[in-house]
């Protein structure tokens, strides 16, 4: 009887296959790819920029570039997901250059509900952590976002960041130390510093 079970029910079409189908005009393939990858790309951009509006813009632009006729994705050079993160990373860099002189993002810009955060950790700490993450060097910030906020393992994070696993490990270690130091200073009374 087990032979009658359709083992393909749970089979998922690969990103690359969806991309090929989408290039031939398959709307459903594009929609499926969007549903699968957009939320994580959005969150990646949200954590990297600290702005909900910019995150939506960046996630949108990644898919616009994906559907462009001259998309430079080459399957031989890496996965589609890594290519999409590469595009998002470049867009984040552009965003940061543009907003270098702009005011830092507030919780309202990030779009988090304060009462949701309040049950877990106080708002001041959260705001400070956001600011501290944004101030990290790009590579460190990316390591924290991928490993600590998106819960990717080292291999996945290295693949998406386009660097060796050892680099991810060292960046993450250093980034955590910097963030912990900033949180510690935040908790230390001004007179005791």
């Amino acid at each position: 009887m087990h032979g009658n079970i359709n083992l393909n029910l749970g089979a998922q079409r690969s990103d690359e296959l969806l991309f090929q189908l989408m290039k031939k005009g398959d709307r459903e393939a594009f929609a499926e790819l969007y549903e699968r990858r957009e939320p994580a790309l959005y969150r990646f951009a949200l954590h990297m920029t600290g702005s909900a509006a910019s995150a939506e813009e960046i996630a949108h632009e990644v898919f616009v570039q994906l559907m462009a006729a001259n998309t430079r994705f080459d399957e031989a050079r890496g996965s589609l997901e890594a290519w999409m993160y590469g595009v998002a990373r470049n867009l984040v860099r552009v965003h940061r250059r543009k907003s270098a002189n702009a005011a830092p993002a507030t919780q309202t810009e990030l779009g988090y509900e304060p009462n949701v955060l309040g049950s877990l950790i106080d708002g001041e700490t959260m705001t400070a952590l956001h600011a501290a993450i944004r101030e990290l060097p790009g590579g460190y910030r990316e390591a924290v976002v991928l490993c600590d906020l998106e819960e990717r393992n080292y291999d996945e994070a290295a693949r998406l960041a386009g660097c060796p696993v050892g680099t991810i490990r060292s960046r993450l270690h250093r980034a955590r130390a910097l963030l912990a130091g900033k949180l510690r200073r935040l908790k230390t009374p001004v007179g005791a510093r």
Partner: protein, 167 residues
């Protein structure tokens, strides 16, 4: 102790990161953004499909042109003598057979002119406004009417038997 502070701050960091993770979980772009992308995808799909229609249209147009203009093309394979290459209906042709060079600067009052007899290839003649038979490939004798600045103001395709000594 420092190491205790370190452990405590690492613990706080882990808790804060966990909170951030929880706050961001399930977040994504708006439905409007998704709809806009799908609309854009549909629009691009139309653009991708369009060239196929263009190729069909172009093929049909070429067929119609071949049928309509075919007989005329056949007659052009047997061109007449070179003198016939000057358009008979050229609006600026004068009784001597000169036709004005298009976009040439006008001559000033009293400006001296000279006529130079030369040979020009069909492309040069065409650039001077002469209607040229596409089957003609060799150089043709021509008279150029030049202003004092040396710029041609008019051109005439001369008979092959005309005097070649120039002016």
């Amino acid at each position: 102790m420092d190491w205790e502070d370190d452990i405590e701050s690492q613990r706080e960091l882990a808790a804060a990161l966990k909170s951030m993770r929880a706050a961001a979980a399930g977040r994504r772009s708006s439905a409007a953004s998704r709809e806009a992308l799908l609309r854009e995808f549909d629009a691009r799909k139309v653009k991708i499909m369009t060239p196929r229609w263009y190729w069909g249209l172009a093929a049909a147009a070429a067929l119609v042109f071949g049928i309509v203009l075919g007989p005329e093309a056949m007659t052009r394979l047997h061109p007449g003598p070179p003198v016939n290459m000057v358009a008979d209906d050229a609006p600026d042709a004068d009784p001597d057979g000169f036709i004005a060079v298009p976009f040439a600067p006008p001559l000033a009052d009293g400006e001296m002119m000279r006529i130079v007899h030369t040979e020009l290839n069909p492309a040069a003649l065409a650039s001077l406004g002469v209607s040229v038979d596409p089957a003609w490939t060799t150089q043709l004798p021509a008279d150029l009417l030049l202003g004092e600045d040396g710029m041609p103001r008019a051109v005439r395709v001369a008979d092959a038997e005309s005097d070649e000594s120039g002016f």
